[in-house]
């Protein structure tokens, strides 16, 4: 039987870098095939070629055994190929149904038939167990739901080959499980799926085979039941990876961050943070565990001066920073790795160099009397690129052209390098490969050893459990419990996150 997709000897160059170098990818009919490789290995590039967004410099593509010419996404759609991108492409203030039918609307007497659109979306989402509400606006639904909308968009266009580029990076653990179920259902219905992910667990739970690429080259194609997570990881990095983190001993110092009775309202005047108390000490990593939407984001934004505090106080290193301007808070010693790297962490149209001094450009030595010193900025950027292994041809390229994981590395490098008194790390390893995660975790532990305070917000319970010295559980805008990671497990944390206090029946 011919392959659903076969890409032969694909080559693609970008200025200064060969993103794909003689890559061959074979996806069988009706399978979930994993595409696995480091940040910047060339996975997204290869998929963009398959989807017609880029033209390969060399190589051929076969779809269901027939040679295909894919010049643009339209060609891809016609061949039944659909793609859900690493970063979504939805119209925020359109409804779910509108987004799904956009570009191929059901018509009645030449006009958009909204009823029909809603019916089709309902039917599709029921068939594959996607559970979306067609009438909700995209801006009002969770990231996980938005992703389902993207999947439905491709299904609506009749795709039988789905490309999912790091779909799980933005999902909570529960949403990931649901997505895996959805994928399995799709495959049962005869679809084929290419899944990009950095998480081995997901590959072993859902895929039947895997292609490993490293630095633009194809390393191997393996059957999942004939390999092990360790083998795959080693194959990807080209050396042995150490997934076990060696944390440093817990030696807390004086308090660095003190939050008292904090109340933060969102735009609809709902108290998203509601009387929260928390202290983070120097020399400790405090992990915040909680189900998404319980006030984590607003808490962090309030500390950074980006959300208005209506009651309570925040002190950093003994100084009151409640409702101060973000710059003042940064100068008082805050480092912040935001959750949304493209929107909040980077100026995408700035160079990597400019992005490395995004908060410090006005300070010496990067500028003097208001005049920038480009050579010092370049030197700093080069140093960070080297130290944090950012895969980029140079510091002069736009941040936009970096692979997702390498964009994340630029932000982490910038924040960690300043060695701030308090480092807030929100999903710091989202979208990073195993090697990079190991490295970033090491960096966070190093900061702790230097006596800095680290506030870690993550949906990855593994990460929280392994790195934290204390875990604060957030629920409905309050810290409902602080637990010792050595005395707890994922199960207990899960219960706490659902609002159940230890010992109590119901909180």
């Amino acid at each position: 039987m011919p392959y659903a997709i076969e890409m032969r000897h694909i080559r693609k160059e970008f200025p200064g870098i060969v993103a794909n170098d003689d890559i061959t990818l074979q996806v069988e009919e009706g399978e979930i095939h994993a595409l696995f490789g480091e940040n910047g290995a060339g996975k997204s590039t290869l998929m963009n070629i398959l989807f017609g967004l880029y033209q390969p410099d060399q190589g051929e593509i076969y779809v269901h055994g027939k040679k295909a010419e894919i010049h643009n996404p339209n060609d891809a759609n016609q061949l039944g190929i659909g793609m859900v991108h690493q970063h979504f492409m939805l119209v925020e203030n359109f409804t779910v149904a509108e987004n799904i039918v956009l570009g191929k609307e059901p018509k009645r007497f030449g006009r958009l038939d909204m009823k029909e659109a809603v019916r089709i979306v309902r039917e599709l989402s029921e068939r594959y167990g996607l559970k979306v509400d067609p009438l909700k606006k995209v801006e009002d639904i969770t990231v996980g739901m938005q992703q389902r909308v993207e999947i439905l968009k491709t299904l609506y266009r009749g795709s039988d080959i789905l490309i999912l580029d790091e779909p799980t990076a933005v999902l909570t653990p529960l949403e990931i499980q649901e997505l895996i179920e959805i994928m399995k259902k799709l495959v049962q219905e005869g679809k084929s799926i290419i899944l990009i992910t950095h998480k081995l667990k997901e590959i072993f739970e859902s895929c039947s085979s895997c292609t490993v690429i490293r630095r633009g080259k194809m390393i191997d194609r393996v059957k999942i039941d004939e390999t092990s997570p360790e083998e795959l990881a080693n194959m990807m990095v080209g050396r042995k990876v150490n997934t076990q983190i060696n944390n440093a001993p817990y030696e807390p110092k004086e308090a660095v961050l003190e939050i008292k009775d904090l109340v933060v309202q969102d735009a609809r005047k709902v108290h998203t943070v509601n009387g929260l108390n928390l202290t983070v000490h120097g020399g400790e990593i405090l992990g915040i565990a909680g189900v998404d939407g319980n006030g984590q984001q607003e808490l962090v934004q309030a500390i950074a001066g980006l959300a208005k505090v209506t009651q309570g106080s925040i002190a950093l290193d003994g100084k009151d920073i409640t409702n101060r301007h973000t710059r003042k808070i940064i100068e008082a010693g805050l480092g912040y790795i935001p959750e949304d790297r493209q929107k909040h962490g980077l100026v995408m149209n700035f160079t990597v160099g400019e992005n490395t001094v995004l908060q410090t450009y006005y300070q010496r030595p990067f500028s003097n009397l208001g005049v920038l010193n480009h050579s010092v900025i370049s030197k700093k950027a080069k140093q960070l690129i080297q130290e944090f292994d950012v895969r980029t041809p140079s510091e002069k390229v736009l941040a936009r052209s970096l692979s997702g994981g390498n964009q994340q590395k630029v932000i982490v490098a910038r924040e960690v390098d300043r060695s701030p008194k308090l480092l807030i790390a929100a999903q710091p390893t989202r979208g990073l490969d195993i090697g990079a995660i190991e490295f970033i975790h090491g960096k966070l532990i190093e900061e702790k050893k230097k006596g800095r305070a680290v506030l870690l917000v993550s949906f990855e319970l593994d990460e929280i459990l392994h790195l934290s010295d204390r875990i604060a559980v957030i629920y409905e805008g309050k810290i409902i419990d602080i637990v010792n990671p050595k005395e707890t497990d994922e199960r207990e944390l899960g219960l706490l996150m659902a609002g159940r206090k230890k010992g109590a029946e119901q909180a």
Binding site: E13, F14, P15, G16, I17, Q55, D57, E69, H71, A304, L306, H325, T326, R327, K328, I329, I330, E331, Y336, P338, K343, H344, G345, L346, V347, M348, N349, F350, E354, L358, Q359, Y361, Y362, S367, G370, V371, L372, P393
Partner: protein, 355 residues
Amino acid sequence: MNQLLKKISWMTLLIPVISVILGLLCGAIIMWATGYDPLLAYSSIVQSIFLQPYYAGETIRAMIPLVLSGLAVAFAFRTGLFNIGVEGQLMAGWFASVACAIGFDSLPKFILLPLSILAGAVAGGLWGLIPGFLKARFKVHEVISTIMMNYISLYTTSYLIKTFLFTQGERTPTIPPAASLASNFLANLTQGSRLHWGFIVAILAVIAMWFILWRTTMGFELRSVGFSQDASQYAGMNVSRNIILSMTISGIFAGLAGAMEGLGTYQYMMINATFTGIGFNGIAVALLGLNTPIGVVLSGALFAGLQTGGLTMQSVAGVPIELIQIIIALIIFFVGSGYVVQWAWGRFMGRRHKA
């Protein structure tokens, strides 16, 4: 590897060049179709501005306000704002410089001239600051508020002239020589053209735009806010302040353009029944010049040359001067649809690659 890089910057450069060629070609076809000789027409333009000192001088003279208002548009654009209000800022600057010159006519030249130029810059800056403030504070879109500010400027300056500075000929009195940028030396050099020292101001402004945007921390912030307000805010920048600042600086360039007309070309300000058009041409200049300082100079030269040379074209080849405006409009049209050209080119290259 560098090939792709070259191809990209090559393409962006190519669009304006191709647009100019297409615009001129279409102009030629129109001339030919309406019974004129396009070759004679174009050669008369080229001959006059390159061989006749008077027309050369007039071309440079016309370039001065065009380049300055082009810089104003480009500066705002580089920081993510669309300043349609250059026209109004220009008139505000024109009036303020002339009023200052007349009001303080007893001051010596080394004070009065810089002071009058400054007055124009400040007035233009203020006229830009207001829409900037409205955007930063109340989220009023700058395109709308700047268009309205244009009308306010048009009628306010007319009113002020009528009420305070009126003289025969529907205009203000002539400014004192101590505030004038005009120069006998330059006039003699160019057989009596109105070329004035304002070109030095324009050159300084070109350098200033480049320096501010790419060499200073202020420009770093302005560009950052222009690209991403969110990320800039997260990095501790004050987004509102930067929006206001950007519109103000843009307005200063526009105000200077007005001051150059008031203190240089005309030496007075007339009561304008309609807009001068220079500010609007500035949008075209910036667009064709890819919003870069050098590009603004080049496209400013092209437009100024066409307008000045158009006069000889009319006398030598008999082609009505209005045709020049048509050609300019065509060029803008082609630049505007440049992305279509780019897309078509991309497809063409893509296909060829496969073959």
